[in-house]
């Protein structure tokens, strides 16, 4: 019999968490949904969604957002997995990991401005190219500069979960695999990688979801040549003050995020629990 007091205590522990969840997660979501489904005078309407789905501009923008978020995720993943793998082989891995996490302590806007200094026509990169007699190149305001900066900013969030999942793998499993005749690549492909998939999925979530709604970088580095849904939300809340349409786009982004969570959820662990 679990004593009543213990139960009460557990409920008591839940209070701060529940209050937080209610005030800062559920209430804003409900408000967002409410705004998107009502007219100025509070009547129910689907007009905002009709505007959204009836507009080629918004649909193209949605496609852009998903496409760029996908590219950013792909780039960070391709860079992060080998990096996390190598980090795990190093002696002082916690120290090296710290160096990678360090840039996240700096404000995002400051990092973006630093990139302006690097990529501008009179910037460091062009000065460096100039040493070889190459004329200043237009580096800013392109899809590539946007992807570069966005990927740079997101990389720590991809490395961290992958690194953790790799660190959790029992090294004896790799030894066993080699004892049983698998070469290095087979071990990596058949043992290490499947076991680190939970980290990869967490990393994809941590990168793809925020990438969907990036907007400062699209303007500062992309010069608004890359337009994502974040740009439209900013505009509706700040310029046209049509909060209802802004909320609608917000709801659609949240739905997209939920879909991402479902697609990347950790099925492996659930099934192993069942077996256990």
């Amino acid at each position: 019999m679990m004593s009543k007091r213990k139960q009460q205590r557990q409920l008591f522990y839940l209070v701060p968490y529940g209050a937080w969840l209610l005030l800062f997660v559920i209430a804003p979501l409900v408000l967002l949904l409410f705004q998107s489904l009502t007219t100025q005078d509070g009547h129910f309407t689907l007009a905002n969604y009709a505007i959204y789905f009836g507009s080629g501009t918004y649909l193209l923008m949605t496609f852009n957002s998903v496409w760029y978020a996908f590219l950013i995720t792909l780039i960070t993943l391709v860079i992060s997995y080998p990096m996390a793998y190598l980090l795990n082989q190093l002696k002082r891995k916690q120290f090296w990991l710290l160096l990678i996490i360090l840039p996240t302590w700096i404000n995002l806007l400051l990092k973006t401005y630093a990139f302006i200094g690097l990529l501008s026509k009179s910037g460091t990169v062009n000065n460096f190219l100039g040493l070889w007699g190459i004329v200043p190149q237009q580096l800013l305001f392109s899809n590539w500069s946007f992807l570069l900066v966005a990927a740079y900013i997101e990389i720590p969030f991809m490395i961290l979960p992958i690194f953790n999942s790799l660190a959790e793998i029992d090294p004896r499993l790799a030894q066993a695999s080699r004892d049983l005749g698998a070469n290095k690549w087979q071990t990596l492909w058949r043992v290490t990688m499947p076991l680190s998939m939970s980290g990869v999925k967490a990393g994809i979530q941590a990168v793809f979801i925020p990438s969907l709604s990036l907007f400062m970088i699209t303007r500062l580095i992309g010069g608004n040549r890359v337009i994502t849904l974040g740009t439209a939300i900013e505009e509706h809340f700040l310029v046209t003050q049509n909060w209802r349409l802004g909320s609608t786009i917000g709801v659609i982004l949240i739905v997209a995020m939920v879909i991402t969570m479902i697609l990347t959820r950790d099925r492996g662990r659930q099934s192993s629990r069942k077996r256990g």
């Binding site: 501009t57 302006i116 305001f141 010069g223 040549r225 046209t240």
Partner: protein
Amino acid sequence: MKKLLLGLVAILLVVGALFGTQQYLAAQTGSDTSSDKVLNLYNWGDYLDPDLMTKFTKETGYKISYETFDSNEAMYTKIKQGGTSYDLTVPSDYMIQKMKRENLLLPLDHSKLTGLKNYDPRFMNLSFDRNNKYSLPYFWGTLGIIYNDKYVNGKDIQHWDDLWSPKFKNQIMLVDSARDALAVALITQHKSVNDKSTADLAAAQAKLEAMMPNVKAVIADEIKMYMAQNEAGIAVTYSGEAAEAIDNNPHLHYVVPSEGSNLWFDNIVMPKTAKHKAAAYAFLNFMSEPKNAAQNAEYIGYATPNAKAKALLPKAVRNDRQFYPDDQTISRLQVYDDLGQVWTEKYNDAFLEFKMSHH
């Protein structure tokens, strides 16, 4: 359990202390109504010479509590939602019209204003506020073209139509604002910047899209920094931004096309929330004094609407055609009207589609 309770008590204590501090600070800065010797001024960032604040306090005894905003819309939202007690704020033309319509402003009692005669009549009694019932002009400026003489010959870029010249491929930075970008296209088509015709707007959007090969980027405040760093040859932006960029790079020049452009105003108004009216009138009169207005104009670098203050400015500033255009150009400048919700959205949709036309 004990630990948790202790923790909770500690948190409550901290919250209580913070609340107390906040109350104390509020009383200090005058958000609290009990302290009467303050003026709550809600203004754009760095838009008033700090020396003048000290002088104002010395002369009148009112202490200025200066809070800042970075867009008309942010200011509007905060005042509309209430809970503030700003005595004066400084919206732009179209926003004054909007706030007026929504009864967010108090009319000014002209019998209490001592400096009205100092203002240039051309900048008074404008469409957004007839007879200056609600507002006094603070600064004015224009929309125009900055060019860098290292990359562009000044003769080639004197008119809006020059922006479409194939010579300037991928050289132009355009201000990220629907109103301003479309105003350029509308003016080249001899239309009003407040045009409310679907056909005209579509034509303006098409014209703007034709400029796309020349557009390097569509950005906001960053234009002044990029222009100062020689990132682009040409930019379309406001005179105030241009003045700052030119300060940092002598190769830059600012042109207001003689065929017309936008004339913008930042005017001082008294929002409905005002509590210290005597202080507010004292400040309005203080800023109308030519000496103070001139000092402020020199500090900020924008054009003053105060004719007597302008006369006090150094000759080089007063006669600078970049920031004080000739009478003929001024007569062709147009002020933005508040377009209303429907047309504001139409302008923004058109601009968004223009920005998307890259793909």
